[in-house]
C-alpha cells in the first residue's frame, strides 16, 4: 500500500466545510432553543463603577436576566502561580473595578438576540474615572525585567562581553524598531453555547486547547471538572486568540447554570478587540557589530513591550536572535512596562513575528552597510552549533532554504543599489529574511479502537482550527495500521477523549500525530497476538513533554525557512504593493504537502500584513482601541495578496520524534514581515523602522528622480 503520510490529499472535512455543514460552537441546534446573551462593556479605561442601573434593561421585552458584579455568582480567582495563563480561572463581573476599556460590566440574557442587544443598551453605568497609563512610548522608562518570558524561556541571555565587543567593532548597526498592537481576529467570533443538564454542563466552545479550557472553566465555576464536557468539532480560526477561554465562555456558563437553560453568547467584532488577546506593542533596540569581512563579533537585541498589570505576559521576542547567527559576544533582554490595557496574549508566532521583524531588518541594514549580499552575510555567520547553548542542531537547513529560495525566486536580479529599478509608475525592490522557530513537545495522548468491521476510530481532544488535523491524523493512522485511508475515522474536539496537546505553538501536528502513531503501533501489536472481539480492540499512545525527552535537551530542535519578497512602491504616492513572494521551508517530515503549503502561505500573508497593514491604535486618553473593526484595523484582502508560494524541503528530523515531523503553523509568519520591509528599502532607499510601513512614512523621503 502506498504511504499516505505526506500525500497532498484533500481535507477529509472539506466537503462539510464547503457545503456549510461543519458546525461551529454557536451553531449546535440539537440542544434546543437557546437564550441569547449580550455583553455590556466599560466605556472607561480605568476606574470604578459607582452606580449601575439595570431596571430599564430588566423591564425590556424578552429579558430573562441582567448580571452585574452585584449578582454574579462567586467564582474562582485568577491564580498567577499556575504557569499557563490559559489554565487559570477567568472570573467575570467579579467587582466594581475597571481595569481596561471594554471590560464586561454586565451581561443581558434574553429570548432573542435582538432583545438582548436592545436591552444591553439600556444598562446605565456611572463611573468614577481614575487616570490610567495608556501611552506605551511614555512608559518605556518604567520597564522592569519579568522572571521569565513566554513558554518559560529566559528573560535575558549573555555570552562573552557584548559591550566591549560592540564598541570596538569595525561596522555597527544600532537602531530602534517599533511594532504596534496587533490582534488575531479569526473570522469566527469568540463564542460559546453552554447547555446545563442538572448539575452537569456541556460547553460548545471555540477553543484551541480543550484540556486547558476545561481546567479554566471548572476552576472559575468552582465545580467538579467531571461535570463539565467540552465539545469543539470545528474552530473558525484561532491564531493564538483561542488558546484560552474568554469572557463569553464564562458568562454563558454562569447564565446557563443560573437560568437552567442553554445560553449562547458571541462577542461582536468590536468587542473582540478589547476582550481577547492583543499582541503587545514593542520597542526594540538591535545592535550588530561586525568586522569589515561581515563576520559578526557582537549581537544584541533588547525588547521592551507593554504588559497588563493584572496579568503579566511577555512575548519571547528576543529569543529568535539567540539561535540564528554565530557571534562570540551576545546579549538579549526582555523588559515589560505596565499599561492599563487589555491583557497581552499569544498572537500567531508570539515573539518571533515582531522580534524577527526588527532583527532581520537590522541584518539587512548591516548587509547594506557592508555592501554585501544579505544571503552571503547570513551564510558567513552560519553557526556550527547553537551559538548560546553550544549543543548540536538536530536538523538545521537554513542555508539550504536561502540558496533554494534564491534560485527559485531569481534573487540574482535583485537591484544591487536601492531605488535603482523602475517599472512604469513603480519603484521595484527585492527583500529577503530568514525564518526560525522552536519545536515544542507537550504531553499528548490518543486512543484508537478497531472494530470487527475493520474500521479504526482515532480519538483525541485535539482540535482542527483549519490546520488539517482531521486529515493528517487519518493519514498517519492509516500508515501505522497498514489500512486504507477510508478505513480510518478521526474524532476530535471532545473533552471526553484523551487529552492531546491542542492546537497552539505549532506543536499540534507533530505531537498529536506522534501519539496517534504510538496508539496505532500498540494496537497493531495487540492485533498480531489476538483476534478483535465484538466490542472492538483498543490501544492508547502517549508522548511526554519535551522536559522529559533527552533529545530536546541535547539538541537544538528548530524549523527554518527563507522568505523572498518583491514589492512595488508608487513613485508619486509611495503606495506599497506586494508583487510576489516565495518562502522555502524545512520543518522535518511533512504530513500533508497540500495543507502544509496552505498554512505556510497563510503565515507568510500574516507577515505581509504586519509589515504593511496591521496597526492597533490606542486612544491615549481612554485606553480604547480606536480602530476596532475590520474596516479600520486593516488585514489583507484578496487584492493585497498576489502570487505567494511556499516550497517545503523534503526532510525527516528523527531527533524531534519518530515521525520526523515538526510544526509549521507559525514558521511562515517568522521573518516574512522583514522580507517585505527589506524589499521596501531596496525599492526606495527609505528605511522605515516604525512598523507597519505605510505610505505616509515613506513618502517624505522618497527619491524625487529615479
Amino acid at each position: 500500500m502506498a504511504t499516505m503520510t505526506g500525500q497532498p490529499i484533500n481535507r477529509i472535512d472539506g466537503p462539510l466545510k464547503v457545503s456549510g455543514k461543519a458546525t461551529y460552537a454557536y451553531e449546535h441546534w440539537d440542544v434546543g432553543e437557546p437564550l441569547y446573551g449580550f455583553i455590556v462593556g466599560a466605556t472607561i479605561g480605568k476606574g470604578r463603577i459607582v452606580q449601575i442601573d439595570t431596571t430599564g434593561a430588566e423591564r425590556s421585552p424578552g429579558v430573562r436576566m441582567v448580571m452585574t458584579y452585584r449578582n454574579a455568582p462567586a467564582q474562582g480567582p485568577r491564580d498567577a502561580s499556575i504557569p499557563s495563563q490559559y489554565s487559570r480561572a477567568y472570573p467575570m463581573l467579579s467587582g466594581p473595578d475597571i481595569h481596561h476599556y471594554g471590560e464586561p460590566v454586565a451581561l443581558v440574557v434574553a429570548t432573542t438576540y435582538e432583545q438582548a442587544r436592545a436591552a444591553a443598551s439600556l444598562v446605565e453605568v456611572e463611573y468614577a474615572v481614575l487616570s490610567g497609563h495608556f501611552d506605551f512610548a511614555k512608559r518605556l522608562d518604567k520597564a522592569y525585567a519579568p522572571k521569565a518570558v513566554n513558554a518559560g524561556l529566559a528573560t535575558d541571555s549573555a555570552v562573552g562581553n557584548f559591550d566591549t565587543a560592540f564598541k570596538s567593532a569595525d561596522v555597527k548597526i544600532d537602531q530602534v524598531y517599533t511594532t504596534p498592537y496587533q490582534f488575531s481576529q479569526p473570522m469566527e467570533p469568540h463564542c460559546c453555547l453552554a447547555v446545563p443538564n442538572g448539575d452537569d454542563l456541556t460547553v460548545y466552545v471555540s477553543a484551541q486547547i480543550l484540556a486547558e479550557a476545561h481546567t479554566a472553566i471548572a476552576s472559575t465555576l468552582k465545580i467538579d471538572p467531571l461535570r463539565i464536557r467540552l465539545v469543539t468539532p470545528y474552530v473558525g480560526g484561532g491564531f493564538g486568540s483561542k488558546l484560552g477561554i474568554h469572557g463569553e465562555t464564562i458568562l454563558a456558563a454562569l447564565a446557563a447554570r443560573a437560568l437552567k437553560e442553554p445560553v449562547k453568547i458571541a462577542m461582536t467584532r468590536q468587542q473582540i478587540f478589547h476582550l481577547v488577546s492583543v499582541r503587545p506593542a514593542t520597542s526594540q533596540r538591535v545592535r550588530l557589530g561586525a568586522g569589515r569581512d561581515g563576520r559578526l563579533v557582537a549581537l544584541g537585541h533588547d525588547v521592551t513591550m507593554f504588559t497588563s498589570p493584572i496579568s503579566e505576559y511577555a512575548e519571547q521576542s528576543a529569543t529568535s536572535a539567540r539561535g540564528l547567527y554565530a557571534a562570540p559576544n551576545r546579549l538579549t533582554r526582555h523588559r515589560l512596562t505596565a499599561l492599563d490595557l487589555p491583557r497581552g496574549e499569544d498572537v500567531r508566532a508570539p515573539g518571533e513575528a515582531p522580534g524577527l521583524h526588527a532583527f532581520e531588518s537590522a541584518m539587512d541594514e548591516l548587509a547594506h552597510a557592508l555592501n554585501m549580499d544579505p544571503i552571503e552575510l547570513r551564510i558567513l555567520n552560519e553557526p556550527k552549533v547553537h551559538p548560546e547553548e553550544g549543543i548540536p542542531f538536530s536538523d538545521r537547513r537554513l542555508v539550504e532554504c536561502m540558496r533554494e529560495g534564491a534560485r527559485r525566486f531569481g534573487w540574482e536580479r535583485r537591484p544591487a543599489k536601492p531605488a535603482s529599478v523602475r517599472d512604469g509608475r513603480w519603484l521595484v525592490g527585492y527583500g529577503m529574511a530568514a525564518a526560525i522557530r522552536g519545536q515544542f513537545q507537550m504531553t499528548s495522548k490518543a486512543k484508537v479502537r478497531m472494530g470487527p468491521d475493520g474500521i479504526a476510530v482515532v480519538q483525541s481532544d485535539m482540535t482542527d482550527i483549519g490546520t488539517g488535523t482531521y486529515t493528517i491524523v487519518a493519514q498517519v493512522a492509516a500508515d501505522a495500521l497498514g489500512v486504507p485511508l477510508d478505513r480510518v475515522r478521526v474524532e476530535l474536539g471532545r473533552s471526553d477523549y484523551p487529552a492531546g496537546a491542542g492546537s497552539g505553538g505549532s506543536w499540534g501536528a507533530s505531537n498529536t500525530c506522534t501519539s496517534v502513531h504510538r496508539a496505532c503501533m500498540a494496537l497493531r501489536e495487540k492485533l498480531r497476538i489476538g483476534k478483535i472481539p465484538a466490542e472492538g480492540m483498543e490501544a492508547e499512545g502517549e508522548i511526554a513533554a519535551m522536559s522529559e525527552e533527552p533529545n530536546y535537551k541535547n539538541y537544538s530542535i528548530f524549523t527554518y525557512g527563507a522568505h523572498f519578497a518583491e514589492v512595488g512602491v508608487d513613485v508619486d504616492t509611495a503606495e506599497i504593493r506586494l508583487r510576489r513572494m516565495l518562502g522555502v521551508f524545512a520543518a522535518g517530515r511533512i504530513l500533508n504537502a497540500k495543507t502544509a503549503r496552505s498554512q505556510l502561505i497563510g503565515g507568510m500573508t500574516w507577515g505581509v500584513s504586519s509589515a504593511l497593514l496591521e496597526d492597533g491604535t490606542v486612544d491615549a486618553r481612554t485606553g480604547a482601541f480606536v480602530n476596532r473593526d475590520l474596516a479600520e484595523y486593516l488585514v489583507p484582502v484578496h487584492a493585497d495578496i498576489p502570487e505567494i508560494d511556499a516550497i517545503l524541503l523534503d526532510g525527516f528530523d528523527g531527533k524531534a520524534n519518530e515521525l520526523g515531523a515538526k510544526g509549521l503553523g507559525e514558521l511562515g509568519n517568522c521573518g516574512a514581515n522583514a522580507a517585505v520591509a527589506n524589499a521596501v528599502f531596496n525599492a526606495t532607499g527609505v528605511r522605515v523602522r516604525d512598523f507597519p510601513i505605510t505610505l505616509d512614512k515613506v513618502l517624505p523621503a522618497l527619491p524625487r528622480e529615479v
Binding site: 484533500n10 484561532g238 497563510g602 484582502v637 484578496h638 495578496i641
Partner: protein
C-alpha cells in the same frame, strides 16, 4: 409582500411586535414570525438553522455572510429579513451537499481554498455571484476599459472583485485558483 404584525407570544406584557414574513430559501418557502430588527443573516442562522451562512463581523466588513439573492451576492448582515419576502434566497446549503457538491464547492476542496472554513461559504457564494457579474460585463476597479462590453477575468480582476470577502487564514492564492478553475471550466 406578505408582511403583517402580531404580538410577541413569548412576552405578552411589554411586547414588541413581531412581523410575519415568508422567505423563499433554497427553493423552499419558509413562514417566519420575526422581530423586525432581525437581519437576514440572523433569520437564516437563528430561525431557519441554516448555519452555513456565517456571522464574522455583522457590519458588512468581512463577507462571511454572503448569500445570493435573485442571483446577486449580498451581505446578509446588512439587510433585514422582512425586506426579502419576494426574493429567491440561495445559501451555501442550496448550492450543493457534501455528497453532491456544486462545481465551485468542489474546486475549493481540490485547491484547498480554505483552512478553518468559517469564511468559506461566503467566499463560495461571492465567487458565484462575482462570475455572473463579470459575465454580464460589469467592470471593476481593476478593469482598464470600463466601457468595454466584456471583461477578461484576469487574476487581478478576480482578486479585486473578491476583496469584500476576508480570509484570515489567508487561503487567498488557493481561492483564486479554485475560482479560475471554475471560470475556465465554464469557458471550455
Amino acid at each position: 409582500m406578505s408582511l403583517s404584525t402580531v404580538g410577541d407570544t413569548k412576552n405578552a406584557e411589554n411586547a414588541t411586535e413581531n412581523a410575519k414574513v415568508a422567505l423563499t430559501v433554497n427553493g423552499r418557502v419558509r413562514q417566519l414570525e420575526l422581530d423586525p430588527r432581525t437581519s437576514l443573516l440572523d433569520a437564516l442562522r437563528e430561525h431557519l438553522h441554516l448555519t452555513g451562512t456565517k456571522k464574522g463581523c455583522d457590519h458588512g466588513q468581512c463577507g462571511a455572510c454572503t448569500v445570493l439573492i435573485n442571483g446577486r451576492r449580498i451581505n446578509s448582515c446588512l439587510t433585514l429579513a422582512v425586506m426579502h419576502a419576494d426574493d429567491e434566497i440561495v445559501t451555501i446549503e442550496g448550492l450543493g451537499s457534501p455528497d453532491a457538491l456544486h462545481p465551485m464547492q468542489a474546486a475549493f476542496v481540490l485547491r484547498d481554498g480554505f483552512q478553518c472554513g468559517y469564511c468559506t461559504p461566503g467566499q463560495i457564494c461571492s465567487a458565484i455571484g462575482m462570475l455572473a457579474e463579470a459575465k454580464a460585463g460589469w467592470p471593476s476597479h481593476a478593469t482598464a476599459d470600463v466601457a468595454a462590453q466584456t471583461t477578461a477575468l484576469t487574476d487581478a480582476e478576480i482578486r479585486e472583485r473578491m476583496s469584500g470577502n476576508i480570509c484570515r487564514c489567508a487561503a487567498y492564492p488557493n481561492i483564486i485558483a479554485a475560482i479560475r478553475d471554475v471560470a475556465e471550466g465554464d469557458r471550455g
